[in-house]
Symmetry: none
């Protein structure tokens, strides 16, 4: 059976950048492009080179290995030749495999926003596409406001699409820029375009979520014949967001209505990493994943209802539209803790810790982890803290040292010269082999000061932790409001190049940081002794 | 022109109660039922009397004035007469105008979950509906798993619906219980039902959001002929949620495709309270509203892009699918480093600040904002800090008070009883009218302690800030690693219900928090004087 190919075009780095509160650095863009590339989307649109320093820098090199790397920009202005248009030249100078040009296709916008004639706009589209093709790149055109334009003047909107295709554009993307078009209208308009001879195999859809139907609009367009979908990770984007590519990937891959006749570049095996992809992206944005997100949310396969829960016991599939494992997610009714237990045994085995299925200490470890996760700990992001906890429960961890007390002080005042300054100072009282060491340090902030004080004098262990470095520090406020709980994640490294993550949770950020710092130091000491993962069951 | 009536059925209090993390008290239910009743939905489903003490208590009285008050429960068990079924009797004993019975319509579920014959199930539906009708109430039947059931055995699923209607049910509601059905399938199945003679005017749709298409499925069903929609406020519900009634109300009322041929019980005037309804519900749940929610989100009409923003100035409608006022929301052109001068002027105008295009102070403001955003400030998420800054640069802000110094201390040590405890204490030295106030406070962490100390004694302003509350606190570490810079965003509120965001940035988290706290207090004082936005150009 031959299935038609649907091309996935990710615009997280371009249209997603319009999300209020989201601003990607060049490093963020490099990391996200790599995630998308590895996952298998066909096109990664990186931004608008020439429009701002970040995007210009990002486009100095090609940033994908498999995926087509796409630069976004505008068609040339009317009255200027393509070769004399500075915007178009900046675009052509960028390192990219393809260029996506945005063009007006609503007659009203051509006159109001561009202030040129309809024919001049068609000529701009044609000449710009030709310039892209001449540069050896794949050309595509985003027809802005296509659906509103089509409703106002179908002949002109269609003419814009045709002009792009005739000039050599691989794709013409129909954009619902304002996001207000309904699925039935998308279906109707796309069908009419195709009936009029525009090839669906060269059409794409770009939908926004202003009526909560960006996914439905994208699928309606596919059913009507388009073969490229533009969207973003977790549906970020201007206003209410773009079409959620994560949801679309799962639906196209798992729903027989689509998977029976279409295929994407993402196979069933890769699909099992979808939840991880969605969560890794939120992690990068430092925001909590939406628990109710389709397919990948923590609640997507959670059942609370008594009646449903008991039916789930009889046959999970009767209350699940797809198997949670198919997208790398988990069912959340504790059918029996056997399932949970097997997971734990595997997780421990991966860390070199073998433990018997019936060892009562395993039950103790599971219940402690569950209890802590309920209060905000996130062990999946803090491997070293998990390993340390497992070592403590299943075996022993030496009492290398003991922090008897610490004190952190932040003071803001005017100094003798009348300059405002803020000073952070920490004092730690550490006992090693019965001997008390008091250390004091200043830092950039209270956590930095505490970190420096704790590691200033560990007696006989001091030389061992000389190469320990704090590489990253993340804070997340859980719950929010006055009941806020703070979770701190710390990434550490040493001269061997090893990296490890530790976690701390408290209603006090200093306390949470202290826990994570302590775990990091102890983990380093265990690691130096090759004692990580050595607490096998007897 | 006669438009057909679409009936809105709210199940926030019943199916919405299945949302992980949401548990309504009787008082919550009373408050929510009143909100829905006043807003104008047709049916308010209150819960499942007899299933738990809350719902039984809630159904001791009718809780709506205009809307039909609906009790939910199961059809009688097979082998028992309706009058001898304790569940059905509890349901009939509850104070309600209507009863919604859930019934199996998937042959597989009848045998697996109910363990009875297909005919026994039909008989249960019939007898239960008759008992409801005999009690003088409106009867309706939720056909659970209807679409999956129809795919497996269309004749039996249809027979269940017919049995309910023949027994006198006003409505048969087609439920996509697992949430995996696609809009095209909903359309097809509903059309087939109606073609087979089932009257669309007596059919309803109950959709879930497991593929992100609950709204689209509801609208597809309406287009195919159903006339009742079940949904919840803000789309809460089990797993990924139910159809979002807020979104549906706006789309049905504002999109010509629907408003041209259908009407609901909610008129255009009431629709202008939609944003307020959505936010009031989140308030009751004690959660921050989703800024990207269709129609009602804070970002739903926000524009960040420079090109779009300048077009918006020319004609707002060209970049808005509906007018924000039609749903009681606001246009928001955000300040961000992507914006040009026109954006700034417009952003200031929105805040009541008029400034001339050539006023040199405007250039100063723009350069300060850009400079600060480059160091990590995010004014688009901190409206109050932006307003304050604009007031300071373009006009004047009174020196209400001056914080001469502060000191924050966090200490962790063993107390006299050998228990480990962490204490956070802050001291602030504030000068008001030449008089120095020293305040000290303990808090859950250093930021909480500082907040309490700063607001403990502001002299003559103290009574004015008594109702100021910190509603949310967010921290983001920018850059990461040792060069880390911390950005703090604080959401404040007061008894007027106003909410405002302030920002602080520093390599010291306490310093960053201090800046945001100070902005919040000063903004509150300006706001009390109606001086926000009063610094017009001369």
């Amino acid at each position: 059976m031959t299935r038609e190919r649907i091309y996935l075009f990710d615009t997280t780095l371009r249209d997603g950048q319009q999300t209020p509160g989201i601003d990607f650095s060049v490093e963020d863009k490099i990391a996200i492009a790599a995630m998308l590339d590895e996952f298998g989307v066909d096109y990664v649109e990186g931004g608008y080179p020439g429009a701002n320093p970040t995007d210009t820098e990002f486009f100095k090199r090609k940033r994908t290995a498999q995926a087509s790397f796409v630069a976004f920009g505008m068609t040339k202005r009317a009255g200027v030749s393509a070769s004399n248009d500075p915007g178009l030249n900046a675009l052509l100078a960028a390192a990219s495999d393809a260029i996506c040009l945005v063009a007006k296709s609503w007659d009203y916008h051509v006159s109001v926003a561009l202030g040129c004639t309809e024919d001049e706009n068609l000529e701009s589209i044609r000449a710009s596409v030709e310039a892209v093709v001449a540069s050896g790149r794949e050309a595509m055109v985003d027809c802005e406001h296509f659906f509103d334009g089509y409703k106002a003047n179908p002949a002109y909107a269609t003419a814009c699409a045709r002009a792009a295709l005739q000039a050599g554009a691989r794709w013409v993307v129909l954009c619902d820029t304002n996001g207000g078009t309904q699925p039935s209208e998308v279906r109707e308009i796309v069908s009419a375009m195709i009936a009029a001879g525009v090839p669906g195999a060269r059409l794409g859809i770009h939908a926004h979520n202003d009526t909560g139907q960006a996914v439905a609009n994208s699928l309606a367009a596919v059913e009507a014949g388009v073969r490229q979908i533009q969207g973003t990770l977790n549906g970020i984007g201007e206003r209410c967001g773009n079409a959620n590519l994560v949801t679309l990937i799962a639906t196209l891959g798992l729903k027989e209505t689509y998977s029976g006749c279409f295929e994407t570049g993402i196979d069933a095996e890769r699909l099992q990493e979808l939840t991880e992809l969605a969560h890794a992206f939120d992690e990068l944005l430092n925001r909590s994943p939406d628990p109710q997100a389709p397919y990948v949310g923590a609640s997507a396969f959670a059942t609370k209802a008594g009646i449903h829960a008991s039916a789930l016991l009889k046959d999970p599939r009767t209350y699940e539209h797809v198997a949670p494992e198919s997208v790398g997610n988990l069912r959340k009714v504790m059918v029996s803790d056997q399932g949970g237990k097997a997971n734990f045994i595997n997780a421990l085995k991966r860390r070199g810790i073998t433990v018997g299925k019936d060892d009562p200490r395993l039950d103790k470890l599971i219940s402690i982890v569950k209890e802590r996760e309920a209060t905000g700990y996130a062990y999946e992001g803090a491997d070293a803290s998990f390993t340390l906890l497992a070592n403590r429960i299943l075996g022993t961890v030496p009492d290398f040292f003991h922090v008897e007390s610490f004190r952190v002080m932040v003071e803001r005042r005017f100094d003798a010269n009348g300059n405002l300054k803020t000073v952070s100072e920490a004092v730690a009282r550490v006992i090693v082999d019965g001997e008390t060491m008091m250390s004091v340090a200043e830092g950039h902030g209270p956590v930095n000061a505490l970190d420096l004080a704790l590691r200033k004098d560990l007696g006989k262990y001091q030389s061992e932790i000389a190469d320990l470095e704090l590489a990253d520090y993340k804070v997340r406020i859980l719950n929010g409001g006055t009941e806020a709980v703070t979770r701190v994640l710390i990434e550490s490294t040493d001269r061997t190049g090893a990296r490890w993550w530790t976690v701390g949770v408290s209603d006090n950020i200093i306390d949470a940081s202290f826990q994570a710092l302590m775990d990091s130091i102890v983990y380093k000491l265990l690691k130096n002794r090759d004692q990580v993962g050595l607490v096998a069951a007897e």
